[in-house]
Amino acid sequence: MQKMYSETSRMEPVIKNMVPKEETIKFLLDYSKALSVIDYNKMKFEALLN
């Protein structure tokens, strides 16, 4: 029991101040620029324009 309770439950500690990779952010910004939503007869169509 003692062993069970004294063991750390996580393999690695939670690192604060973690941020996603720059390329992920860049991808999201590019995706946002490329995505356009077309409104047609109350329907919304997504179009990815490169």
Partner: protein
């Protein structure tokens, strides 16, 4: 706090109106909080990265489609999306548990892929085609018995009934069919192995 949420709301509005840099500002402002939250649940950098990306793809789509109506509650809304995606992720890995090899035991040492690879499949098809062509060359009575026995898996009793000959004759035709096939194969040095 009030200023920050107001500014978020302002940025969201600006983004909806087409200001792309507003999204950049929103992501920069909240990326650490959202990413750390996701990582604290999944404990895997790559998975956290994927979920972070999917979260913002959802955010972008919803904002562009005009489906966002929680003004002033941008960050709780994004956190809820990421939370739901984390739940989806755990549901998915529970359905399809990932087996990780360790140094003591490798699952692939006992599991093998039984299906043929492209080359072996081609060879198998070729061999089967050759055999079919060889069978076509047999005399009609022998060919009939061989096809019934090998391809239709009929018993010699059924074959004899269908062809109207005795079982012994059917057995004899089968024997001659095989002898003739072997002869042709030997004569022409045909290789019929995979």
């Amino acid at each position: 706090m009030k200023t920050s949420t107001t500014t978020d709301a302002y940025l969201v509005n600006a983004y909806i109106k087409g200001n792309e840099s507003a999204l950049c500002e929103l992501i920069t402002r909240h990326k650490q909080r959202i990413y750390s939250f996701i990582y604290s649940k999944v404990f895997d950098r790559d998975v956290a990265e994927d979920i972070f990306q999917d979260t913002f793809i959802k955010v972008i789509k919803t904002l562009k489609k005009g489906g966002y109506n929680e003004e002033g509650k941008f960050i709780p809304w994004v956190m809820r999306i990421s939370h739901n995606l984390v739940i989806d992720y755990f549901r998915k890995i529970n359905r399809m548990p990932k087996f990780e090899n360790n140094t003591d035991f490798n699952i692939f040492s006992v599991l093998s892929d039984g299906s043929l690879n492209a080359e072996k499949k081609m060879i198998k098809d070729q061999v089967e085609n050759n055999v079919r062509r060889l069978i076509e060359e047999l005399p009609e009575d022998q060919k009939k018995v061989l096809i019934m026995r090998v391809y239709k898996e009929m018993s010699f009793k059924d074959i004899s009934e269908q062809t109207g000959v005795s079982i012994n004759t059917a057995l004899g035709r089968m024997r001659y069919a095989l002898i003739n096939l072997r002869k042709v194969i030997d004569k022409h040095n045909i290789v019929l192995t995979n």
